[in-house]
């Protein structure tokens, strides 16, 4: 009896947490998305530094003061952007039945490419944010408390993808460390991608493909066989 009650109340809470049922929450989320959309548009048109908060609030249709209630800094905006990206990424992957059956290098390639595709229209913005995130005090830093939830969510997702490959014995057990390795690899790839001037960023495509295949091969052998 106790268990049932607990489960029921949890479900209620969970529902409220993930999907705002109250009108106020829904409005709040909508405003956030409006601001993000307006900001991203302006970043693309005028660049990160050329965009003022005034312009963002005007395009989002809110008062400039209201903007700060939602996002205190551009970093907060970026954090929200990445939260949304991760959420969309996971949903997209879960919905792609064909990709789920693919081999690990293809899965990881598709995931990384999806992420790159997502940030591609906002290259300037991402570039600026990326270098700021390497500062220790940045909220976007991989070590910051603010980005922890986002990081954990992403790593859990990658962990799941790797676990499937472990189960099918495509790779040996790599555990959490494997997910961290993919996370770090992605950061490196974004760095390469930002500097890649080749057509269609094809050098990055080749690098991702080759690295993933090589890494899978190495894992299969279980040793670094130089």
């Amino acid at each position: 009896m106790v268990n049932t009650r607990k489960a029921t109340s949890n479900a209620g809470k969970g529902g409220r947490r993930t999907k705002p049922t109250g009108k106020r929450d829904a409005n709040k989320e909508k405003t956030k998305q409006d601001i993000l959309r307006a900001a991203l548009e302006l970043f693309r048109e005028k660049g990160l530094d050329g965009t003022t908060t005034k312009q963002i609030s005007r395009r989002a249709g809110i008062a400039e003061g209201t903007l700060f209630n939602y996002f205190k800094t551009k970093e907060d905006l970026a954090l929200y952007f990445f939260q949304k990206e991760t959420k969309d990424l996971i949903e997209w992957f879960q919905a792609d039945a064909k990709l789920k059956k693919a081999r690990l290098p293809e899965k990881l390639f598709a995931i990384i490419y999806k992420q790159l595709e997502y940030i591609e229209p906002y290259e300037d913005f991402i570039g600026a944010v990326f270098f700021r995130s390497l500062q220790p005090h940045s909220k976007l830093s991989p070590l910051s408390l603010e980005s922890q939830a986002l990081r954990v969510k992403y790593l859990q997702f990658i962990r799941q993808v790797l676990a499937q490959a472990e189960e099918s014995e495509e790779i040996p057990q790599v555990g959490d460390l494997g997910a961290y390795a993919v996370g770090l690899f992605y950061i490196g790839i974004v760095m390469h991608w930002l500097h890649d001037t080749s057509k269609g960023k094809q050098k990055t495509l080749a690098l991702v493909d080759r690295s993933l295949k090589a890494a899978t091969q190495v894992l299969k052998k279980g040793v670094w066989d130089w």
Binding site: Y113, Q202, R210
Partner: protein
């Protein structure tokens, strides 16, 4: 070091001579299995490792034929692309996904192509097309390969005279293959110039669905060699196709002055009406008139009695410094003459050559070995010989018979005086 370079040339030269039959036998021995395993390992990694494969395949004097055979698979092949990568590359190249560009698109590749892979698709107008998609950034990988080849000091200590020009020629050829716009131009060129040769079918290019890394062409009918042989074709059809192939070669050489120079059997699609579909125009050689003249004179054998003409030919082919007095060059020329006299006699133009005869293929291989060991290699000649021996291999596999001298005379210029451009 010099040996390494030489053997690379030797490899390039021998490649067309490594026929399926011989390779099959070799695969059965231990070394063959070993080589195959290594190639598989390398093939699964490819990419930067392709360099290693290339480096290894150059060591033919150390590794032997079974290694060259296996590693040759690495030479011009890019790593296979899985669907996610293929889509990313297609979108990067044409700005749209395959489904946006075509009415239908088969995500599973139908064949590996030079530097990429080929997919079947249907245009919105209902045309069936073949779409060739290149592996990303392959040009950089190849340029790096050659950079390494050079900076490793391989070219420095040379006793040969033309080797670095051959390397340059090979690099130029390979790099050219990475530009599909160039290939599209080649297709247009051959489609126009081979129009009179009714036994040959050339695809047409869809420029609106092509760029430097994606090439869309009309589908050319025909069976690949192995599938064709399974249909147990009649001897008559075999002869007909053989004659078509020979006509194609000599027509290109003497009338078009350009060669489809990739003798891979998969590039010829055989039809039961005796026509041949010609595909993959990445490797095309536009020939200098003086080289064509020399080749015509190899055939006419006029130089045997004419010292001046002999000197003219070897100077044209090998330059002044190699000179007409080099005994190795003379040995090469004599070997060519003996070979031609035996199989393409001038005085019996109706003599039928049976390409299925093992003796002919052995003699051809022997000729190639003699030419390589006597450094009888110039860049133009290399391409020519590769293509001609590729054709002979194909004729052997098909089992054709043809009056070779008569066919050559259909197209070869008569009485070609020295120095005169044809």
């Amino acid at each position: 070091m010099n040996k390494t370079r030489k053997s690379y040339l030797a490899y390039q030269f021998q490649r067309p001579f490594l026929n399926d039959e011989g390779a099959e036998a070799r695969r059965k021995d231990f070394h063959g299995r070993n080589a195959k395993r290594v190639r598989k390992e390398l093939a699964s990694l490819r990419g930067p490792i392709m360099k290693l494969g290339q480096a290894l395949s150059m060591q033919s004097h150390v590794l032997g034929n079974e290694w060259i055979e296996e590693l040759s698979g690495l030479q011009m092949q890019a790593p296979p692309m899985h669907e996610a990568l293929m889509r990313a590359q297609f979108k990067g190249a044409l700005g749209k996904s395959p489904e946006e560009v075509f009415q239908s698109f088969d995500p599973a590749p139908f064949a590996a192509a030079s530097l990429g892979q080929v997919h079947w698709a249907t245009t919105h107008h209902g045309d069936e097309v073949a779409v060739k998609i290149q592996y990303p950034a392959i040009r950089d990988a190849i340029e790096n390969d050659f950079k390494i080849l050079r900076t490793a000091g391989l070219p420095i200590q040379l006793t040969g005279h033309l080797q670095s020009s051959v390397i340059r020629e090979v690099e130029r050829g390979i790099l050219e293959e990475t530009d599909y716009v160039h290939e599209a131009n080649n297709i247009d060129f051959f489609r126009k110039h081979l129009a009179d040769l009714k036994c040959i079918r050339v695809p047409s290019v869809y420029r609106e669905f092509s760029c430097d890394q994606v090439l869309t062409m009309s589908r050319v009918p025909g069976l690949r060699l192995n599938d064709f042989l399974k249909t147990h074709p009649s001897q008559e059809l075999r002869d007909q196709l053989g004659i078509a192939l020979m006509r194609l070669f000599f027509f290109q050489l003497f009338k078009v002055h350009a060669l489809h120079a990739d003798p891979h059997p998969g590039n010829y699609l055989l039809n039961d009406d005796g026509t041949i579909g010609l595909v993959d125009f990445g490797c095309v050689k536009y020939l200098k008139p003086e080289v064509i003249r020399c080749y015509a004179q190899f055939w006419s054998r006029e130089w045997v009695e004419d010292r001046e003409l002999y000197e003219d030919i070897v100077t044209t082919l090998f330059g002044d410094e190699r000179g007409a007095k080099d005994p190795k060059v003379r040995r090469g020329m004599d070997e060519i003459r003996r070979f031609y006299d035996k199989f393409h006699p001038l005085k019996q133009p109706d003599q039928i050559l049976d390409f299925a005869d093992r003796k002919f293929m052995d003699a051809l291989t022997q000729l190639a070995r003699t030419l390589v060991s006597n450094k009888f290699l110039s860049p133009d000649f290399l391409f020519l010989s590769r293509t001609e021996s590729g054709m002979c291999n194909l004729l052997h596999a098909i089992g054709s018979r043809a009056a070779t001298t008569r066919i050559v005379r259909e197209y070869a210029p008569r009485n070609t005086p020295r120095g005169r451009k044809i």
